[in-house]
Symmetry: C2
Subunit: 394 residues, 2 copies
C-alpha cells in the first residue's frame, strides 16, 4: 500500500499552496535540483564529450522509456523518449498510415486541438483526411473505411475517460490501426497498452510524471508493428548505427527507430530524478485515492457553489484524474483562486480545471480548494478588473 | 577588439585539458549552473505553472532566436528555437518544397548523413527525390530541374566551407529554394544569411554556441517566404493563438509558425546563460583568431607528424573552424590523445577532428595538442589494445 505521506515528502510544493494544476505542470520533486546540477557541473562540466558514454547520456532516451513503460503496461524495450508530444504524435500517425492502405484518420472533437492539427496535416500529406466525431460517437464511427483511430484517453477539458480496451478491440476487429495519446493518463491512472493491443501510444512527462517544463515526450510501438516501420523522420539517433555515419538510413531495432536527434540531457536528468517517485508509489493506489479525493472535491463544490456546473463525468470510472466545472466567468474566478493560494487553471471558454493527484495532495488541499472557491463565489471576489487581465499563458 | 583572456575566463574547462572538441559539444559556461538552478528551484519550484508567464518561459523560443540571429546575419523576429536540428531541418525542407513545383532536392555527399536521410524522406514523401553530388560539383549540378538546394556550410568531417553567397545566388537565379544547415557555422564564423538571400537556415546550439548537451536547435525563415508557409508539423505553439484552443490550425506570424510543442525550459535556460558570451565576443575577431590558431595547428602537426595527412582545406578561407587529419589508425590515436588530456574526436573511418575556437583556446592548447600528438605518433603510444576498445559514442 502506497504511503502518501511519504510520497508527499518527496515533493517541494510551496508552503500554503494547494497545487491542483499537476495535470498541466507537475511540481518539483526534491531530488531533481541536485540531479540536474550534477548533469550540468559534473557530467557536462568535467567529463565534457566523454559524458555521452561515461555518464550514460546516450542511453537515456531508452532507459527513461523503460522507466515509464510499466506505468502504461508496456514491456521493456517498447518505449523511447525525446522531442515533444507533437513530434511523437506526428511520428506515430505517419507510421500508422504506413500499416494500412486506408487514408482516413478518425478522432474526436474533444481531442487536444493540436493533436487534431497534426492528424489533419499527416492525413492530408498522405492523400487522406481526418474525420472528427463527438467523443460518444467514436465507437459507431469506426468502420472498414477508417485507417487509423487516434484518441486521447482523457479529455483535457472535462477529464472524460475513453474506454481504451473496448475501442481498441473494436478498431482491431475492423482492421483499424490505433494510436493513443496518454498525456493525461501516464502517472494518473493504470493503463494497459499491451493488454488493449494498441499499436502506438504517445504521451508527455511534464504532467503526472513531474518531469519539469518541456520534459521529453514518449512513444510506444507494439513489438508486432515496430519493426515494420520506415520512419517518416529518419533521425541520426534512430539509425541502427548512428556513429557509422552511413550514407543511407537503416532503422534501429523496434521503437528505437523513433529516436530522432540529440537527446535533451538536462531535461532527461530532471525526469530521471522525478521518476524515482514511482519506486514508492503504486499506480493502483494512486488511482483509488485520486478518485476518493475527486469525489470529495465534486461533493464539496456542488454543495457550496451552486453556480458552478460539473463538467466532468460524475462516475469515477468515466473520469481521469481531474475535475472540471463550468462557469461563464471561469477566467477571473480562477485568478481570484490563485491569488488565494489555490492553483488550478482554465480552458477556454468556460472551464475551471483541477488536477487531483494524491502524490502531493490530501484532504487539506481539497478542502482549501472548496472553501476558497465558496468564498470567491459567495462574495463575488472574482469581480475585479485585476482578475480579468489576460496573460499570455492562461 | 575581443579580449580572449576575458572570454576564456567565462568558461569552466577542466584544468589540464586542451579541449578541441567544442565543434561537438561546447564546454560549460560558468554562469550556466546558477541560471539552470534558478530555473529549477525558483521558477519551476516556487512559481510553478505561473512561470510560463512570470519567468518568461513562453517567450524563450523567440527570445533565444533573437539572441542567435545577429550571429548569422538575421534580423530580429526571423529566427526561433526548439526541438532538434533534425526536426528543424525536416520543417525547413518540407516548407521549401511547398514554395516550388519542382520535386528534386539537391545536396552533396559531404553533408551530415542524417541531413541526407531527412532530405531523402521529405523528398520521397512529396513524390520527389534527393540527388547528392560531390561537394565540388554542386554549382554545376544546379539547374531548373532542382527544387531545393540543401547544404551544410561546413563539412563535419573536413571542415570544408561552401561559398554560401555564390551558391545561393546561383540557386536563386535558377529559381531554386535554398536551405542551409549552419551546425558548424553558428558561433564559429560570420554568416550573412540575409545578405546571401537564402530562404531557410537551421542549426544547433550545442557546438560553437555552447548551449549544452541536447540544447535546442534553431530555424531561420526569410521574411519574404515565412508568411507563405503552411507548416508540415502544425504544432500547438506554432498556432497564432495557442491558448484559444481553436479547432483549426492558424499559423503564427512568420517564423514563429515553426514552433512546435512545449519549449524545453531547462535546456533553454542553459543556452540563455551561454549566449552571454556573445555580449563580449565579436564574431569577426573569433574568426580571425580561429584561423590563426588553426594555421598554427596545421603547421605544427605537419612538421611533427609526417604520417598524418591534412584532410581540411589548406586555405583558411575554404575552411570552417576545425582542422582534420587522416590516418588509418585515427580511432586509437585519438583515444591515446584523450588519455593525455588533449580532447578531439574521430569520424569514421579515418578522420581525426579538432575544433579550434579562441573563446577558450590559445597557443598553449594548440601547442599541447601538437606536442602530444607528436609523442603519440613517434612512440606509437596509440598501439595499445585499450585504445581500440570501441565506445557507444565515438
Amino acid at each position: 500500500m502506497t504511503n502518501f505521506s511519504a510520497t508527499r515528502a518527496l515533493f517541494d510544493v510551496p508552503e500554503g499552496v494547494a497545487y491542483l494544476d499537476g495535470n498541466s505542470l507537475g511540481p518539483l520533486v526534491r531530488s531533481v535540483p541536485d540531479r540536474v546540477a550534477r548533469a550540468v557541473r559534473e557530467e557536462w562540466g568535467t567529463q565534457l564529450i566523454r559524458a555521452w558514454n561515461d555518464a550514460g547520456w546516450m542511453a537515456m532516451p531508452d532507459r527513461l522509456g523503460d522507466r515509464i513503460a510499466p506505468l502504461i503496461g508496456a514491456a521493456a524495450g517498447t518505449l523511447t523518449t525525446g522531442d515533444t508530444l507533437s513530434i511523437k504524435l506526428h511520428q506515430a500517425l505517419s507510421a500508422a498510415l504506413t500499416l494500412t492502405e486506408r487514408r482516413v484518420i478518425l478522432s474526436d472533437t474533444g481531442n487536444f486541438p493540436s493533436d487534431l492539427y497534426i492528424a489533419d496535416a499527416v492525413a492530408r500529406q498522405a492523400g487522406g483526411r481526418l474525420t472528427s466525431v463527438e467523443p460518444e460517437a467514436v465507437a459507431d464511427a469506426l468502420s472498414e473505411e477508417v485507417g487509423v483511430l487516434m484518441l486521447t484517453e482523457v479529455d483535457y477539458r472535462t477529464g472524460r475517460l475513453h474506454d481504451m480496451a473496448a475501442l481498441t478491440a473494436r478498431a482491431k476487429a475492423l482492421g483499424v490501426v490505433t494510436v493513443w495519446d496518454l498525456a493525461h493518463s501516464a502517472g494518473a491512472l493504470p493503463v494497459n497498452i499491451t493488454g488493449a493491443g494498441a499499436d502506438f501510444a504517445v504521451g508527455c512527462s511534464y504532467k503526472y510524471l513531474n518531469g519539469g517544463p518541456g520534459a521529453p515526450a514518449f512513444i510506444y510501438a507494439a513489438p508486432a508493428v515496430a519493426g515494420r516501420i520506415d520512419p517518416a523522420i529518419p533521425g541520426w539517433l534512430g539509425h541502427a548505427a548512428p556513429f557509422a555515419f552511413e550514407h543511407s538510413y537503416r532503422p534501429a531495432r523496434d521503437v528505437a527507430r523513433f529516436r530522432v536527434g540529440t537527446p535533451p540531457v538536462l531535461q532527461m536528468a530532471a525526469l530521471d530524478a522525478a521518476m524515482d517517485v514511482w519506486d514508492v508509489a503504486d499506480l493502483s493506489d494512486v488511482r483509488a485515492r485520486s478518485l476518493e479525493l475527486s469525489e470529495r472535491l465534486i461533493d464539496g463544490v456542488e454543495a457550496a457553489c451552486t453556480d458552478l456546473v460539473l463538467a466532468s463525468p460524475r462516475a469515477g470510472k468515466d473520469r481521469g484524474s481531474q475535475v472540471s466545472f463550468r462557469h461563464p466567468e471561469a477566467y477571473p474566478i480562477m485568478q481570484a483562486l490563485i491569488a488565494r493560494g489555490v492553483v488550478g487553471d482554465v480552458r477556454a471558454p468556460d472551464i475551471l480545471r483541477f488536477g487531483v493527484t494524491p502524490l502531493y495532495l490530501g484532504e487539506a488541499e481539497i478542502d482549501a480548494c472548496i472553501a476558497t472557491l465558496a468564498e470567491v463565489m459567495d462574495r463575488r471576489l472574482w469581480d475585479d478588473p485585476a482578475y480579468r487581465r489576460r496573460q499570455a499563458v492562461t
